[in-house]
Symmetry: C2
């Protein structure tokens, strides 16, 4: 039995998570100054965390998967370990990604908008190649579900090395060429300097008039003006977006009304719905694993690498 680890858990608390932390060896303390670990739980008040940081804090846990904005703001120092919930919500995000894909491929968004009877069947996933930009935890969870529908998941990563769960993998730099053989693209990659604007006119054109793009990562990865034009001109078949540029997407934006587009409000990743009821089990397991790891001097899960940008 390791000695207990003093942990501050807040500002939003959840009894199930607290119980799991204590079982993993945490002693919950009320004052951040008494803690070796600071588990910050409110993504909307991340800046309040600065006031809670104390030199003895060895590990800071952030509640979100994407920390690009915090890195850009110089928020993350190099005097301790910072973790993000990378991949923790993969199952939830993948489900939403598939929902958005099917809403477009099965022409459901179009049917809701039309509001009258019309044969407009869309297309089936079986036998179709579906590209997944990002072959990490979320990409793998998306790929597993696509296989259940008989689709062929093609993963993309920086060097094209094989990744488990994908029928094929390719280099992200060959995205446009590879998309020419695909009917769908699901974006599930961290937002970095390399992925900023990676999906532009050429990539959308490659998907074609039946093709569908889904984004559950970050709005800026798509050239959004090119997307609007491609959809309006019928050069792209559909778009399912849980993320936009900017967020919230302003009322009256063309993406709200294009026939086969659907925008959900950054709902795939449930950390935004405090206190994460939808994913509380996965979140608690992630934290408990890291409490046990810190207490026993093992490497933590989800460590932020500022040099990579995620």
């Amino acid at each position: 039995m390791n000695p207990t680890l003093p942990v501050y858990f807040g500002p939003v608390r959840h009894p199930d998570v607290e119980a799991r932390l204590v079982a993993a060896g945490a002693e919950l303390v009320d004052a951040p100054a008494d803690a070796r670990a600071l588990i910050w739980t409110d993504p909307f008040k991340a800046r309040d965390l600065i006031g809670a940081l104390h030199p003895v804090v060895e590990w800071v846990s952030l509640p979100m998967a994407g920390v690009d904005r915090l890195i850009a703001a110089g928020f993350i120092d190099n005097t301790r370990v910072w973790t993000a919930t990378k991949g923790v919500y993969a199952d939830a995000v993948a489900e939403h990604a598939i929902a958005l894909l099917l809403a477009c491929s099965r022409r459901i968004a179009a049917a809701v908008r039309r509001g009258s009877w019309s044969s407009d069947p869309g297309w089936r996933l079986r036998g179709e190649r579906i590209a997944i930009l990002g072959a990490g935890g979320i990409g793998r969870a998306v790929a597993d579900r696509l296989v259940a529908f008989g689709a062929i998941p093609i993963g993309f990563n920086s060097d094209g090395r094989p990744a488990p769960g994908f029928a094929e993998t390719a280099r992200s730099s060959a995205l446009a060429e590879t998309l020419a053989g695909c009917r769908g693209l699901i974006i599930a990659v961290p937002f970095t300097a390399e992925t900023n604007g990676l999906v532009g006119e050429r990539e959308l054109e490659a998907l074609g008039p039946d093709g569908v793009v889904v984004n559950v990562a970050r709005g800026e990865i798509i050239d959004q003006q090119a997307l609007v034009t491609a959809l309006a001109d019928g050069r792209l078949g559909g778009a399912g977006l849980d993320v936009t540029d900017p967020e919230p997407l302003p009322d009256g934006h063309p993406l709200w009304s294009l026939a086969n587009a659907v925008v959900t409000s950054h709902n795939a990743n449930p950390y935004r719905q405090l206190p994460w009821d939808a994913c509380v089990a996965e979140y608690a397991e992630h934290l408990a694993g890291n409490v046990a790891a810190l207490a026993s001097g093992q490497p933590l899960d989800g460590v932020v690498d500022v040099s990579k940008g995620y």
Copy 2:
């Protein structure tokens, strides 16, 4: 090598299907009067088939899965074998059923209607019990996909006997009681006197204010007025309907505009899209198997039983 079987295939023809029939032992003939088998391919002109029927025809293949209306019309005689495409399109129909379920559970229909940013995440399939009325080919294909999302598929059939692919099975007569523990109901059962109106106010109420009903079978299985009222009152969370009563659903019907309802236009079962491009491989295999079976005196697949009603 069996001798060739004279087969009439029409009125709509498809070269891939014809090639598969010939490979299975069919000799394609132009006149129905010369045929031992009549493969009728146009669901919208089924009555024209009467003119093509000839006493020597031993087997008639119908292009649709549900033949309740043809049975009710006294269309199906007892002097030969009639087959329907029962389960042939299971994969395609199951995909559409999951698309409709996710469109409601992930609040996509609501997001399309709203057209502005709003946190409205819906719920996750993982760990949820989802009822499937009908534990046949389509039900099984739906169950397989639900399992890939971590949901628990509960099948219903007449006597509650265990069915492969389902976590549990229950009797259809216990539908309302069992639905109280389920968050979704997918209707994938033949339309018969027993299933007519089977899903009424009590069953919809049991699903509750977050619950979702999906129908890919026949509109008349749901008490549609009870459905409209439950949705409008917020006693049911959502409805994804590929079938309605009547079809086409008239313009201005409340189901076209209720916040979390979506109606697609009988598109799940692709036999309505001649010449069945979306499912041509499955259709060709079904026909080829039956050609070979008839030629060698084996039982056919998908035989219509008028006494059962499907």
